[in-house]
Amino acid sequence: MSWISVFALALQTAVGFQGASYALAATGLNLQFGYTGLSNFGHVGFLMMGAYGMAIASDRGWSIWVGLALGIGAAVLLGLALGIPTLRLRADYLSVVTIATAEILRLVANARPSAPVTGASRGIGGLSESLGFFRPNFFPEGKYGIGNSFLFSSRQLWSMVVAWSCVLVVTLLVRAWVRSPWGRVLRAIREDEDAARALGKNVVVFKLQSFVIGGSIGALAGALIALDAGSVNPGRWIAPLTFALYTVVILGGAGTVWGPVVGAVTYWFLLDFVDGALNNLWFDVSDTTAGAVRLALMGVGLMLLMIYRPQGILGSKEEMLASGR
């Protein structure tokens, strides 16, 4: 594989559906972690709600909109169920409880007795056909792109357009929210919860709102991921996905409007470029080793980023310092 095609393939992932879905999921996390300072380490649980909402709707022969409502409804309930008891506690507790809950949800979906609802470890397939995700696709069959490597099929182009449209709409909404008085209260909570409380704000309610809205955005991302993949199985919704989203948020700039978008594109470009480069340099390594090398680099990258450039690409150092991070 030539270096040009390594570059083109990495760019394709970054601006394609992968980049868009991560940007969307990270936007939810950014509202929680970046703006409100909530350490939700179980974001993948919210994504899972959206994905399984779609899967269950497809399995029962319901429409795509019922699936979406189901997923987001479940995410709201999950947000309330987790938020009401833990948002009163210190941040440490939220992180432990969210990571544990996400793992519980995955294990329950994976367990044999859950098969009638979730399909257990095999999951549920055939989503895009039964829900008709690709039916309104107005791109004629064929390849779209430049050169031999930077190419999208008509289906890829469709999911990419849908996903980036969602990102745009949600990002503009979040931008409006965080610039409103409500958003200023969130940032005040992030920077000094006691001060916000002293000003008469009901901190728990604001945190709960941010938590539930962020989770619902995550569920929307999960629903799109399920539609694009056409199947849902529990093996995908593991803790490292949450941590990848943290990398995206921090890389782009936590607490900035366009941070998740910039972060997701950069993250996927770097990750896929490293992957292609590894394949180019050591073509004899097995796939599992290449995957492990890539994840190890992501881990080291996250550490270095947090230590040397915690404000990410778009954030400002001053705001980071002000918020005591």
Binding site: R88, L89, R90, A100, P113, Y246, M306, R325
Partner: protein, 447 residues
Amino acid sequence: MSHHRPLRPWRFALVLLVLVALWPAAARAQEGDDADAGCAFTKREAIEANGGPLGSAIWGRLCQVREGKPSYPEGVEITVSQGEEEVGSATTGADGVFVIEIPGNGTYEVSLDVETLPKGFSLTDADRSTLGNVRVNLGDQQAAFRLGEDTRGQRDFSDYATTFAKGLRLGLIIAVAAVGLSLVYGVTGLINFAHAELVTFGAIVAFALSDAGVPFWLAVALAVVAGGALGLANDRLLWRPLRRRNMALISQMVVSIGLSIAARNIFQIVFGPNSRRYVAAAGQRESAYGPFRLTTNDLLIMGISVAVLVALTVLLRRTRLGTAIRATADNQDLAASSGIAVDRIISIVWIICGALAALGGILYGLSVTVKYDMGFILLLSLFAAVVLGGLGNAYGAVLGAIVIGVVQEMSGLFIDTAYKFVVALLVLILVLLIRPQGILGSRERFG
């Protein structure tokens, strides 16, 4: 920061009460795995009974539990056929064993002539006198007929006792592995996600050393020392500089996540993706100690854990170092102004943390297998234990660990084992709802 309060007897009593309450709950269990009471049969035993290699054969042993002892029916005719054609037959000997030669790999039908069963023996399920689809892929294959009354779902006291003991074993392992996490949280406020990798590190180093021919117990000692050194390196190279920069705890937590991902994948590259078994874990047999059926390793694991935890308690309670650690955990500034070298104390806590995590990893590896992500799999149980006991409280972590271990194992008796981990995590969430500061935590953690 955290308070190490004296242990209140009523709290211990409460926990004991919960554990005891679980016992009769388990006794109402309806379904579960098969208790075969000595009827299990292995290929090695078959070769011994056959007096030589089995060759291409279908083999097995008829066995029925009578009055609690396995007994073997003699003179039962077993026939193997393929399609309509009979391939071979045999009659069981006094040991109940049958070996029937077959022409090669393939799918066979094995049937037992019920007429020839001696008096007092019967098939568990009368319709299962013929095994329709016996696949032979590797030259030979065991054919198992179930005899005697269906004992599934019926458990005796010893089963509960044994499961309880295994839960205790798991709890003690979790305790050894988790205490360091809690101590580090106590003195620095950091929830270290990479703690899981300290656990894996110990298990892997011990495996590599024993694989290279070092005697196992020496390998364990060296791995624990290496774990302590890694703990010190963690503090000196990473966390101390970050503390100097006044990095916020939430950011430090994200750094520890990065470290955890990196370390885990490096382990995968170095150690490989497969799970392996310690030589010392091979060939363990259960023997009865009162109502408990345990292996020698089980006893060793529990003995070592208890000894280490007692030693740690003595260290924390009775020595100047322990007092300094507790003072630092209580209030760093106050400790520093009373002449305690806080940075040194934190380094020592990291050494203890690394060494105990390594030991916990080795013990866990002994009870299951060694794998590059074993620590990560254990991490949620560690968190659950630490939060359950009260964040930053070392004794609480031990107590929480035992509760988590026992609840996890015992729950496997009455719900599907696939949900075993879920139960431990649900306990954690319930405790946070009712008593957010944990069993032994102090109330100020709340809110």
